[in-house]
């Protein structure tokens, strides 16, 4: 059974021989970019370069998935935001949104453009998924991701205002998030058609570090449910930061699996959600994988497995500056230890 079959079986809830090590979020490495000879800023606007770079983490290290996009601005851009890819940056800078769509409260009642599927880089992503799938799709599962409704709303309007309004004018925010859900569904459908095996919904902004579990339940959960219901391939719901108080709501959103980061006490989450729940996580991709040494990488992988993750999976994007020996140590440890549980 190769990685692809094993990950797909995992999603279906079937027995597999060991815990896999993969991600549904960004995982390209400088090692991969440099071997290909590309400039980071050029990857975002070239389907071939994007797909090749995304495939390199599997090809170089045996990482058990291939994922595009690389940045977090696809949906906002397709809705009309201007992005900055920092074309002249010396090091690696991820694209950000330059121009918001909503500047004040009374502009929140937005009408979605009717051509989202063909706007911005959505067609480019479709092409990248197809290329990635043709390249390594018989070996590993192909993942793609969309933002969650709150996180997307935080990109198209001032996060500061959005947060205050989720408290003061919850109705208005709920309406906006519902529109965001519609936009996200359109993009997710395109990725699905292009051949993604699983789609991760990244709702980073709705962490319990920022929003109360009550607001999460009332405001964030309904549009998440709407999105996940429409995703027909396997889905993963990812939320960063503190999540122990909302993991039950995350499951209620209806994904195939949930993804949590290092701030989540996974042993407790496992106890709460039971043995069959798919919980992906939860190591710190920077402080362990990038700045830690091989020993820390290995002990952390064991900890994740001992705590009961269904797949070892980083808590966020893997930062490209990851030392190659740490990537190898991660894969080696999970392959050796992941079957012993």
């Amino acid at each position: 059974m190769n990685s692809r079959e094993s990950v797909l079986k995992l999603f279906k809830g079937e027995e597999i021989h060991r815990v896999p090590c993969f991600s549904g979020m960004g995982n390209i490495t400088e090692e991969g970019i440099n071997k290909l000879g590309y400039k980071f800023a050029a990857i975002h606007s070239d389907a071939k370069k994007m797909a090749e770079t995304a495939a390199s983490t599997y090809k170089l290290f045996g990482f058990e998935s291939g994922v595009v996009p690389v940045d977090l601005c696809v949906e906002a851009e397709a809705m009309g935001c201007v992005i900055n890819v920092y074309p002249n940056a010396e090091g690696i800078l991820y694209p950000t949104i330059k121009e918001k769509l909503i500047h004040k409260e009374d502009e929140m009642d937005i009408k979605l453009p009717d051509n989202i599927a063909s706007s911005g880089r959505v067609p480019l992503l479709v092409e990248a998924i197809k290329l990635l799938k043709a390249d390594i799709g018989s070996d590993v599962a192909i993942g793609s991701y969309v933002l969650g409704p709150f996180t997307l709303a935080g990109q198209i309007m001032e996060l500061n205002d959005l947060l205050k309004l989720s408290f003061k004018k919850a109705d208005k925010v709920a309406k906006l998030l519902d529109a965001m859900a519609d936009a996200i569904i359109i993009v997710a459908k395109e990725y699905e058609k292009a051949g993604a095996d699983f789609i991760t919904v990244r709702e980073m902004g709705a962490t319990s570090d920022v929003l109360s579990p009550r607001v999460f339940k009332n405001l964030i959960l309904p549009p998440l449910q709407k999105i996940i219901k429409e995703i027909k391939v396997h889905s993963v719901l990812h939320i960063c930061g503190k999540t122990n108080d909302i993991v039950t709501f995350m499951m209620e959103a209806g994904p195939t699996a949930i993804s949590v980061e290092q701030k989540n006490d996974v042993a407790e989450t496992r106890k709460k959600l039971g043995k069959d729940a798919l919980i992906f996580g939860n190591f710190d991709p920077y402080n362990v994988l990038v700045s830690g040494d091989e020993t820390l990488v290995r002990t952390t992988m064991r900890q994740c497995i001992d705590n009961g993750v269904s797949a070892v999976w980083p808590g966020c994007d893997i930062w490209p500056a990851v030392p190659p020996q740490n990537m190898r140590a991660m894969m080696d440890e999970v392959k050796n230890y992941g079957g012993k549980r």
Binding site: T96, V210, N287
Partner: protein, 229 residues
């Protein structure tokens, strides 16, 4: 001079105004303080800041979350805007100028704004560079203003890695300048590794750190007042 009972009532109004994110109460309280001849610095610290300290506690206890804190901050500013023009420059032995901003590649500025607020409160001159700030701009602004403190913020791991470069450049030109880094991906170890003097990992910590600093200033002020009696 206002009598003690009246003073207490006004401070309470300012404090509760901040805690209950009631901008109008803070505006009223600030005006009442001025009308009653209360020292505006006292009204800021014993009223507004005292309220913000309680907000910090409520955040830690997970009774308040970020939306509430932002509303409390608005209320604090509503009072501060009225009181500040009447403040005499605090003589606390430090000049108090700070350069603050979110590093290039990052457009998140909530934590940065909360820290900025506490510096505003403390009477610092704040040079706010905003967000997505090219690294060299921090170095230039520090040199231009001769600020003794530089605060670098990053919410995303992906933007944090630019920090050591700035720190190195500033320290090379001005070894005495203190540097505080902040944002979700930062840690004590990382601050040390990057050569920074302090860190705050999230808005609550940033707020706590800044409150600590301001509380320290407040203590100095009280001691000075006691010595002058």
């Amino acid at each position: 001079m206002a009598d003690e009972a009246k003073k207490k009532e006004i401070f309470e109004k300012l404090r509760n105004g901040v805690i209950q994110y009631d901008e109008d109460a803070c505006k009223e309280g600030a005006q009442e303080a001025l009308d009653a001849g209360i020292d505006p610095n006292e009204a800021i610290f014993d009223g507004l800041v005292s309220g913000m300290e309680e907000v910090g506690r409520l955040f830690e206890a997970q009774e308040y979350f970020v939306p509430e804190i932002l509303m409390c901050a608005d209320a604090l500013y509503a009072g501060l805007d009225i009181l500040k023009p009447h403040c005499k420059q605090m003589d606390i032995g430090v000049k108090g100028a700070v350069v603050i901003g979110t590093v290039e590649g990052d457009v998140h500025d909530i934590g940065k704004n909360l820290v900025k607020m506490m510096f505003d409160v403390a009477g610092f001159t704040v040079y706010d560079l905003g967000r997505d700030v090219p690294l060299d701009q921090f170095v230039e602004e520090q040199l231009r203003t001769d600020s003794e403190l530089v605060c670098l913020s990053a919410m995303m791991t992906t933007s944090m890695v630019g920090m050591p470069k700035v720190i190195e450049k500033i320290k090379a030109k001005n070894p005495d300048c203190l540097i505080m880094i902040g944002g979700a991906p930062t840690s004590k170890d990382l601050a040390e590794k990057f050569g920074a003097d302090g860190y705050a990992e999230d808005a609550s910590n940033a707020l706590k750190e800044a409150i600590k600093m301001v509380s320290f200033l407040k203590k100095l002020r009280d001691e000075k007042a006691a010595a002058n009696k």
